[in-house]
């Protein structure tokens, strides 16, 4: 077991070392493999022999040596295979001395993120590659986090790197014209990593790397590099304000606890303070965007000492803005809940009526779950129970199904017997 200090240090250094080697050798794909080997070597040696004086230089040296060996053997093979290859310059001429440390570039992490979140990759691959190249996680750790075999994850990462190579994308900032769109992809990838960690955190699993912490760490880096960007701040604030509730979101048996029933004493006050400060500052100056609005909504929830203190009018106003800025049936579902809290369940149900037949929600359990909740509020117990059962059948989440079944059963106990 690694000392957490070493592990943390390696994660911080991983993107810097990868960037340095990519710049030196010109190939992200080969450099990435060499960095993994250097990180694995450090993870076994440092806890025993102590952290070297210049850990970054150590990793670059080991990685560079690995890369040089690789290039040498590739060249030797090429020489054997074709006589023309003998004309290639010897490795010594293309690679500087292995222990030479290159100055780091502030934007290295950013360039790596843009490369890992290249639009030619599927989201699944973007997530895996980002965790490895920027997060410094091993393939085994990433596989564990996504509940797939290590061989599957190794193949996915290798395919992702091949795809990047095929696009000819370089370790560079994307052109100004593409920057905003590319940043949108990066933010979405971080959001997916965070969600994966947050939604599966129903019990203590010490074997699993903390994806929420990893997403927050990378988002903090990004915020440092792009301090003026409102959506970067918004995403980081959203993560902090959501993660703050983690300890309260599930009971010890793994069952989900709804927001109104959570023990708010378990919420992380520091995270809430940081998140609120971040989003408040951003809202006053940056251009508004969906992550900022979602963070603002999370902030309103988190700032209520008791559920009944929640400023639902503010939340409705924020959802109205969000629905105008980024219309989407999931937003409407959440909006309906907020509207019901202000104007009563009928008003919320009216809003849901507009979603009937929306193909984007076909088979999605959340429409039924929200409808059930609002029907229960309206006192329509038979219909509410039916909607809870319908939602329970549609969800693929075991904790959500248990929760929805329990709600249905609870109505059964208290309500008049069904016709």
């Amino acid at each position: 077991v690694n000392e957490p200090g070493v592990e943390g240090l390696l994660r911080d250094l991983a993107p810097q070392v990868l960037a340095a080697l990519t710049r030196r050798f010109g190939s992200f794909v080969t450099a990435e493999d060499a960095v993994q080997e250097a990180l694995l070597a450090a993870a076994t040696q440092w806890p025993e022999q102590g952290v070297p004086e210049n850990p970054r230089g150590w990793l670059i040296t080991v990685g560079a040596r690995r890369l040089t060996d690789q290039l040498r053997s590739d060249l030797a093979r090429a020489r054997r295979e074709t006589a023309a290859a003998a004309l290639l310059p010897p490795v010594e001429l293309v690679s500087p001395a292995a222990d030479e440390d290159l100055p780091s570039d502030e934007d290295d992490t950013l360039k790596l993120l843009f490369l890992c979140c290249h639009p030619a990759l599927s989201p699944t691959s973007q997530v895996a590659l980002t965790l490895r190249a920027v997060g410094g996680l091993t393939t085994a750790q990433i596989a564990q986090a996504f509940f797939v075999p290590e061989a599957t994850m190794a193949q996915r990462i290798s395919r992702a790197k091949q795809s990047i190579k095929a696009t000819g994308a370089r370790f560079d900032m994307p052109p100004e014209a593409e920057r905003a769109e590319r940043l949108g992809v990066v933010l979405h990838v971080l959001y997916l990593i965070f969600n994966e960690g947050y939604t599966t955190s129903t019990g203590p699993d010490l074997q699993r790397p903390e994806l929420t912490a990893e997403a927050i760490r990378i988002a903090r880096d990004l915020r440092r590099l792009l301090p003026e960007d409102g959506e970067v701040a918004g995403l980081l604030a959203l993560m902090l304000l959501t993660d703050a509730r983690r300890a309260a979101r599930a009971a010890p048996d793994g069952s989900l606890v709804p927001l109104v029933e959570q023990d708010r004493g378990l919420w992380d006050a520091d995270s809430i303070r940081d998140g609120v400060a971040l989003i408040s500052e951003s809202l006053t100056r940056a251009r508004l965007g969906p992550y900022q609005l979602q963070a603002a909504i999370a902030a309103v929830h988190d700032e209520a000492a008791r559920p009944e203190d929640t400023d639902w009018r503010e939340i409705v106003a924020l959802y109205d803005l969000l629905a105008r800025l980024a219309p989407n049936p999931m937003v409407t579902l959440n909006q309906a809940v907020a509207v019901a809290m202000v104007d009563g369940p009928r008003a919320g149900l009216d809003l849901l009526a507009g979603l009937e037949g929306d193909s984007r929600l076909t088979g999605n359990h959340r429409l039924d779950a929200v409808r059930a909740h609002l029907l229960e509020m309206a006192g329509e117990h038979a219909e509410a129970r039916e909607s809870y059962w319908s939602a329970a059948r549609r969800t693929t989440s075991i904790p959500e199904r248990r929760y929805l079944e329990a709600r249905a059963a609870r109505i059964g106990d208290n309500a008049p017997v069904d016709r």
Binding site: S122, P123, T124, S125, V127, A128, F146, F147, V148, P149, T152, M153, Q155, R156, I157, S158, R159, A160, H188, L192, I193, N195, E196, T199, T200, T202, G203, T242, R245, L256, V257, L259, Q262, P290, L293, Q294, Y319, L322, A326, N328, P329, M330, L333, N334, V337, R360, L361, N364, R366, A369, V370, H373, T395, T396, S397, I398, P399, E400, R401, Y403
Partner: protein, 132 residues
């Protein structure tokens, strides 16, 4: 209900499915050898593709239904009988577990296998969940 999202499909990074392949042994037994080789080649090509893309979790083929044992509890006592349960002509012959971006992708990889067999695509449940 927590959260608002870019879209229902972009909520999580990947989705796990099993592809259940139901086969009629008679169909395959009566097939000319060349055709059987070609049809099995379609299966193998798809498995290879899934493996190389990092979407395959595992793949299993099931032994002939002839070897099936069926267990039923009668009055609390488990009774084991030879052969499959019921009168079905199609039997579960293969199970693939995949981890893909979307249902569309799952259907795309399962479709070529349906040439002679009935194929079911079913999402796996998991322990993730949002508090509501």
């Amino acid at each position: 209900m927590k959260g608002a999202h870019a879209g229902p499909t972009s909520w999580s990074a990947s989705v796990k499915y099993v592809v259940l392949i139901y086969s009629n042994p008679a169909t395959w037994a009566e097939m000319p050898a060349a055709e059987r080789d070609r049809a099995l080649g379609v299966h193998n090509t798809m498995i290879k593709e899934l493996n190389e893309s990092g979407e395959l979790i595992r793949v299993d083929g099931l032994a002939d239904p002839w070897a099936t044992k069926t267990i039923r509890a009668r009055g609390g006592v488990p009774v084991v009988t030879d052969g499959p349960f019921g009168e079905a002509k199609e039997f579960l012959a293969g199970v693939w577990a995949i981890d893909v971006d979307s249902l569309e992708r799952a259907l795309e990889v399962a479709a070529p296998v349906a040439e002679y067999d009935t194929v079911e695509v079913r999402e796996l449940m998991d322990l993730s969940g949002m508090e509501m």
